[in-house]
């Protein structure tokens, strides 16, 4: 039987576990769920308050997980779960306990705390666990509405970019003599004003390209 590991950072309730469950059900796979409770390590103040908050979260997530177990039993999916405080060592230990797996699915997880373990991207987790890792967003069905929005955005900013390059750009030499390269305060400010506007317009156009060809989705967007 295939094994799928699902990992998500949880504040109140795991948002994406239902999708992972659906994928496990579709493949007839065993699902191992790892729930991460965020821990603030940078300050030493309010330790007792934070400990109390962590305990309350653990209880809430455990109660959710028990209800999830029941649902999995009804849907014919084998489930095991674990709740840990999100610290790099604890994370790596838990992942090793769930290994080996055919696939690791990552829900909402901030990877910054794992920088200590030299993990910055999902691909780094894949290397350490010797298993493919995908963001849940990559596995979700494509949203038709969002693609249409991307096309519209590309069209609008594409038109503005064309204006910038084919109408404004040929006049820059002339404007250099009049303002940009006069060595004056106004010239320097004009440069500072022009550059971010063009960068924003053209950058907004070009950022649509990886979205339309599905590159961003493969990478898991914000991971």
């Amino acid at each position: 039987m295939e094994k799928i590991v699902f990992v998500e950072q949880v504040d109140r309730e795991p948002k994406n576990i239902s999708y992972a469950l659906e994928i496990a059900k579709k493949k007839g796979a065993h699902l191992s769920a790892l729930f991460l409770i965020p821990v603030v390590v940078e300050t030493v103040d309010w330790i007792e308050t934070q400990e109390k908050q962590i305990r309350e979260k653990e209880e809430k997530i455990a109660s959710f997980a028990q209800a999830l177990e029941e649902r999995c039993r009804k849907e014919g999916v084998e489930l095991e779960w674990k709740i840990i405080q999100y610290r790099p060592r604890a994370f790596m230990q838990a992942m090793k306990e769930f290994s080996p797996a055919e696939l690791i699915i990552v829900g909402d997880v901030d990877l910054k705390p794992l920088a200590e373990e030299d993990i910055k991207h999902l691909e780094d987790i894949s290397l350490r666990m010797n298993c493919p890792v995908l963001s849940i967003k990559t596995l979700m069905p494509p949203e038709k509405k969002s693609k249409a929005k991307v096309w519209v955005r590309m069209g609008v900013f594409g038109a503005l970019s064309a204006l910038s390059y084919f109408v404004f750009f040929p006049h820059i030499e002339e404007l250099n003599y009049k303002i940009y390269m006069t060595g004056t305060l106004w010239g320097a400010l004009a440069v500072l004003f022009t550059v971010p506007i063009h960068a924003y317009i053209y950058g907004s156009f070009t950022e649509c390209i990886p979205k339309l060809i599905g590159l961003e989705k493969s990478a898991g967007s914000d991971h």
């Binding site: 799928i4 309730e13 576990i17 239902s18 999708y19 579709k26 493949k27 940078e42 300050t43 959710f64 997980a65 209800a67 649902r71 696939l103 910054k112 705390p113 920088a115 200590e116 030299d118 991207h121 691909e123 780094d124 290397l127 995908l134 596995l139 979700m140 069905p141 910038s164 390059y165 820059i172 030499e173 404007l175 250099n176 003599y177 940009y180 390269m181 006069t182 060595g183 004056t184 305060l185 010239g187 320097a188 400010l189 440069v191 500072l192 022009t194 550059v195 971010p196 063009h198 960068a199 924003y200 053209y202 950058g203 070009t206 950022e207 390209i209 990886p210 590159l215 493969s218 990478a219």
Partner: protein, 373 residues
Amino acid sequence: MAAGPVTGHVSPEQLQIVTQVLSSSPWNYLWVVLLGFMGGTLSGFIGSGGAFLMTPGMMNLGVPGVMAVGANITHKFGKAMMGSKKHGELGHVDKKLAVFVLTTALLGIKLAVWVNGYFFHHLGKAGSSLYVSLFFIITLSLIGGSMLKDALRTARGGDVGPSKALLKLSSKLRIPPMINFPVAGVKISLWTILIVGTAVGYMAGTIGVGGFIGVPAMIYVFGVPTVVAAGTELFLAMFMGAWGAFNYALAGFVDLRLTFLLYAGSLVGIYIGAIGTSLVKELYIRMVTSILILLCCLSRAFAVPDYLHKLHLIQLSDKAAAWFEMASKISLFASGGVATFLIIYWTFKGHFEKQRLVKKYGLVESIKVPSGA
């Protein structure tokens, strides 16, 4: 050549340089766009840099060093603003540390602009380019060599990360006043910050590199955690870029045509490079970076004899000068081209592998998410 005060006076020569470069061959428009694309892809891939390719690349096309740096630093300013828009929140930023480093770095940048401009006004295009090239050679050989050593050590299964010698030295320099930075969790001597911040700013202002120097400086000299260093550097990049762009523009060394042409390529490449980091193994990233940096360093070394010849410091035959110029161009464009090709190849390879998994495991239709479990 014109001589005069560095700021507030712009010679006619400065205004005509880019026109001459672009009109000498229509292909030069494309070369600058290509430089931007390669630089943007690398910048997105390794998280910082691109300057070590774009600035020397423009110099290879005949743009004097000071204007190449000016164009790049202005280009970086706009790109940093897009970067922060793309990434949203800045993450872990030690604002107190940022203010201290920024204050000294701005001073370093101002000094760098003055020095760069001084070389241009007193020694002309060749002098300016020679100064910037020598700076590149020293910096890139140290950084590239260190990164390659580190990457090879990791490939052999050794420790990850460069030597902690600088950190040990810095921790011994407990000269008061010591400043506490609670977010970064470190206490640093004010004098260390003054020296390092000014040095980082000077390097940023001289050759246009930013996070490439700033992030390692914060990690390996100050002992700041990686995540705080990266977040703080992003915060700094916008201000340092703006200040650098402002000062170079004030001195009349920013021709927006170069900046716009760089953007035409870089704002396409940067997204591919950034996405590539999620799809490509870290070790490949480090190997590519270190080898490319060393080849860029070599490219600049090939360019130095021609500048020395133009300054009448050495004698070179026309054939030898042409050979050195070709060697410099080929080593830069070929290495940048190969590195960019590899990044794009690995990115799309990773993308197609992910797509295969998505076909196998992906959900075809939306599901109804029940409340609770």
